[in-house]
Amino acid sequence: MKSSVITFPGSNCDRDMDVALKKYGFKNKMVWHADAELPKSDLVVLPGGFSYGDYLRCGSMASKSKIMQSVINFANSGGMVMGICNGFQILVETGLVPGVLLRNKYLEFICKNVFVKINDKKNKYFKNVDNEVLEFHIAHNEGNYFCTNDQLKEIEDNNQIAINYCDENGKIEDQFNPNGSLKNIAGIFNKEKNVLGMMPHPERMIDTSLSGEDGSLFFKNLINNLK
């Protein structure tokens, strides 16, 4: 399986994602934002970080960079595109997934482990994951998901919510919502479910020595689903 990780000026989880993808068998290429062409890929990842310093609005400038036109075309033709953290913010800015990401409710950066409940498994990202609840890691300042009531209805009708913040037993309640996201939304798909944007970083959960191992489940499953 071939993957591509896009490096924008200010990306800082690009290497971590490269390490994770390779660990689970992807042949990964790093792609520079100013390139026009995407290499042939089965998966494109927009990594975390602070593209363009988060200036103007998180993800907004990166969404206009040269490579993004190819990424958008790739996504529109059914290609798998995953945006993590800042990558999610970029996806939102391109309109590939609906909604916006506001500043965290308490106006503070949060770095910690969280639990997320998988809401939908009829997609290549979460199909065949045995667990209902995964322990993931977040590190962001603007992860407070928001959208209009109409959008929310559409998202829910199409089952586009990928994961919700919850407790270790999968209970989705306000007290387990780290950043004020609408409906505890931690990740969301496009209608066709080939594009996934999520705040948590599975690439930081690939080793017992790190924050945990549930990221491994995610990546192992992802590469199997793509085969």
Binding site: N12, F50, F109, H137, A139, N141
Partner: protein, 730 residues
């Protein structure tokens, strides 16, 4: 502008210093030259009050590749890998403008590290605030934490450990010390020594603006009512540009075109160019019209003294300019050839085709003033006799809860959750432990780092305090299973012109020197911050020590959380019952006098090295050093982290229970071992003549003392965790 004595005094120079400048130049300096002298000769850049004493610190060792004098120190961690590290203060700016002050402190220290070719892999910080009741404290704390996070998070470098304290002596002068570790290949270290004639001098990074002019002079003065007016002297940080600068520099460094490189930190273009020329025994000629400027009509004076951030000066091999420019273009950074190296041994500046400065380099560096300031020795205070009646009415569990909730002991999770501590995917010990630990990417090795200070002990007796901080750093590294290698120090003191403050400095440095010599834990880099005082009142002496150690196989790292019920808990090191200057004495008995706990370097070394032996033999399940709040505080933290309880049985000592549990004697650790290993462990301890106590057994979820008094760990955890959150949300 005509330069005279008064203008010089307004620049922070002393009258005799101005006379010396005129004598060295054999003429009156012009305003640009005076600005350059004032920047180079202030305390921050010249170390004029501290140099004499810093010379006495041990700086050499088998593992030391580079000691003080470069942008940062470098140590050998084997297999051609080296760690570059340093700590630096940004106290004055952070008090005036906490967010930008702290942010640029973090940015500056990271630049010092990647200037040497190393990729930063971990940040730490030591931050100190006034009393929680002081009306400024909350906003300063919030601003500093946001600033540190804002910069470090954006750079994508994990902040893995730190220290936060509160004390009323910082009411008017907070301390913000930032430390960075970087990883480099031993044969790819870059230095600031220029070499060769007619080599192009290159300016890269951000454009120069009027921000931060005279920042270094500001950092060398005391505060008064008018400090708000100094806001424009605080630099403004742009971590995004620094991230680009980091990547661009590392890309250029992969080739072989750089002769010397120096970041523009304090005193900007002035100190960077002079340092490179001075080390290379060369001259440098600069055309200031070529310097990329952000604002119009900047004068030579402003260009030379600006402290705009995220800039570097490079001496390049001839003919490599185009190739280098391509890299900086790719990263959207300015790149300008602004001058060349010369044989004149002078700094010669041109602007609008006129020579605007002409100063021999040695007058700025070797001939800079050095003072042997008067200082006063601190006598060892007399020990207090603790009255048994004072202890009688105390309930241990109540005291324990109070201590766990003390601002200087409580959990700092509210702070470190705002720092990205997991980016780069190698953080294997997060903040909240004895040391932060990161793996050396792609290897089995890991590097541990911790930052410590004990202002109370240093204030009570500077010589003992100085030793103690080094020992504490040593212990924090050993507690995670790391072999201590070297330290960096950030020496925060009041005014060197005050004999008492100067005495505190001299004796703390002596203590640091003695301990680091004995423990073979040399000082490889550091920074001095004087004038941490408002009007006549100085801070408590606060030397911060950043220690770095190596874990050869990261799988053998130790954490402090209790692991398993029924395991045994031992105290390594002897408890004499030293209560003076302990958290217990100061906060529970309200006794603020007396000597700090004595430091016995033999025991420190012997106890620490023996514990490392036990760890190497896989006999230790968890470990934690005993510091503030004594044995019971240390044990409680291990219980809270491991969600386990303990049944403590006080050994049959002569001292009473309270003294045993709350004393702050040095050189002690709490360790958890498996019952079946008891014989092996005690054999090793006895063989090495290490005193130990059997403290108790791990239980489910309650803390007992002699089977009786009990409290749930949840209750202790709440005491420990809620103070800071409540304080910040009020």
């Amino acid at each position: 502008m005509i330069v005279n004595e008064q203008v010089a005094v307004d620049h922070g120079l002393k009258r005799d210093e101005y006379a010396k400048i005129c004598e060295l130049l054999k003429r009156t300096p012009n305003i640009t030259e005076l600005g350059i002298f004032s920047a180079m000769w202030n305390e921050h850049c010249s170390y004029k009050s501290s140099r004499l004493h810093l010379k006495k610190l041990p700086t050499k060792g088998k593992k030391v590749i580079q000691g003080p004098g470069e942008n940062a120190g470098v140590i050998d961690i084997e297999d051609n890998d080296a760690i570059v590290f340093k700590i630096e203060s940004h106290n004055h700016p952070s008090f005036i403008e906490p967010y930008q002050g702290a942010a640029t402190g973090v940015g500056g220290i990271m630049r010092d590290v990647f200037t040497m070719g190393a990729r930063p892999i971990a940040n730490l910080n030591s931050i100190h605030f006034g009393s929680p009741q002081n009306k400024k404290t909350k906003n300063l704390l919030r601003g500093v934490v946001h600033g540190i996070g804002g910069y470090g998070n954006c750079m994508g470098v994990p902040t893995i450990a730190g220290q936060t304290t509160f004390d009323s002596s910082y009411n008017g002068n907070i301390l913000v010390n930032a430390m960075t570790l970087g990883l480099v290949k031993k044969d790819k270290i870059f230095y600031s020594k220029a070499a060769g004639l007619n080599k192009p001098v290159i300016y890269v990074g951000s454009k120069t603006g009027r921000d931060g002019i005279h920042g270094a002079s500001m950092a060398s003065a005391s505060f008064d009512e008018k400090i708000e007016e100094k806001k424009p002297t605080v630099q403004v940080g742009d971590p995004f540009t620094e991230k680009l600068l980091l990547e661009a520099c590392l890309e250029l460094m992969a080739g072989d075109s750089i002769i010397a490189i120096q970041d523009m930190g304090a005193a900007g273009l002035t100190s960077s160019s002079i340092e490179m020329a001075s080390k290379g025994n060369l001259g440098i000629e600069i055309n200031l019209n070529k310097v990329p400027c952000r604002e119009t009509k900047m004068t030579p004076y402003e260009i030379m003294l600006s402290e705009s951030q995220e800039r570097m000066l490079i001496v390049l091999e001839n003919g490599k300019e185009e190739q280098a420019k391509k890299i900086f273009d790719k990263w959207n950074l300015d790149f300008a050839v602004i001058g060349k190296t010369t044989k004149s041994k002078k700094i010669e500046l041109y602007f609008d085709e006129e020579k605007v400065a002409d100063i021999p380099v040695n007058t700025l560096v070797e001939n800079s003033p050095m003072y042997d300031r008067k200082w006063k020795k601190t006598k060892l205070p007399k020990k207090n006799k603790i009255k048994k009646e004072d202890l009688k009415h105390l309930k241990i569990i109540d005291v324990l809860k109070k201590i766990l909730a003390n601002p200087n002991v409580c959990s700092k999770e509210w702070i470190w959750q705002q720092y990205d501590h997991t980016v780069m995917g190698d953080t294997i010990q997060k903040p909240g432990g004895d040391s932060g630990v990161v793996r050396v990417h792609g290897t089995d090795k890991a590097v541990a780092a911790s930052v410590d200070s004990s202002a109370i002990y240093c204030w009570a007796h500077p010589l003992t305090g100085g030793k103690q901080v080094v020992c504490e750093s040593f212990r924090n590294l050993i507690s995670v299973g790391a072999k201590p290698i070297a330290i960096t120090n950030c020496l925060n003191f009041g005014s060197p012109e005050n004999e008492e403050n100067m005495g505190e400095f001299v004796e703390c440095v002596q203590g640091i020197g003695e301990a680091s010599e004995y423990l073979k834990f040399p000082v490889v880099s550091g920074n001095v911050s004087f004038y941490n005082q408002t009007k006549e009142e100085g801070i408590k002496p606060t030397p911060a020590i950043g220690g770095v150690g190596l874990i050869k196989n990261y799988q053998n790292m130790i954490t402090m959380d209790f692991k398993e019920v029924d395991n045994l808990v031992l105290v390594i090191g002897k408890t004499e019952g030293h209560i003076d200057q302990s958290l217990f004495a100061r906060n529970i008995l309200d006794e603020k006098n007396g000597p700090p706990p004595e430091v016995n370097l033999f025991n420190e070394k012997n106890n620490g090295e023996t514990l490392l032996k036990l760890i190497d033999n896989n006999l230790i399940k968890s470990a934690h050093d005993v510091s503030l709040g004594g044995i019971i505080t240390a044990v409680s933290k291990m219980c809270i982290k491991g969600k386990k309880g303990i049944n403590i049985k006080k050994p049959k000592y002569l001292i009473n229970e309270i003294e045993y549990l709350f004393a702050e004697d040095q050189g002690r650790y709490i360790v958890e071992i498996n019952k079946k290993d008891f014989k092996k462990v005690t054999e090793i301890l006895n063989k090495n003549a290490v005193h130990f106590d059997e403290l108790g057994t791990i239980t489910e979820n309650k803390l007992y003392i002699n089977d009786k008094t009990k409290v749930t760990i949840d209750e202790l955890s709440t005491s420990n965790k809620s103070w800071l959150i409540n304080y910040m949300s009020k």
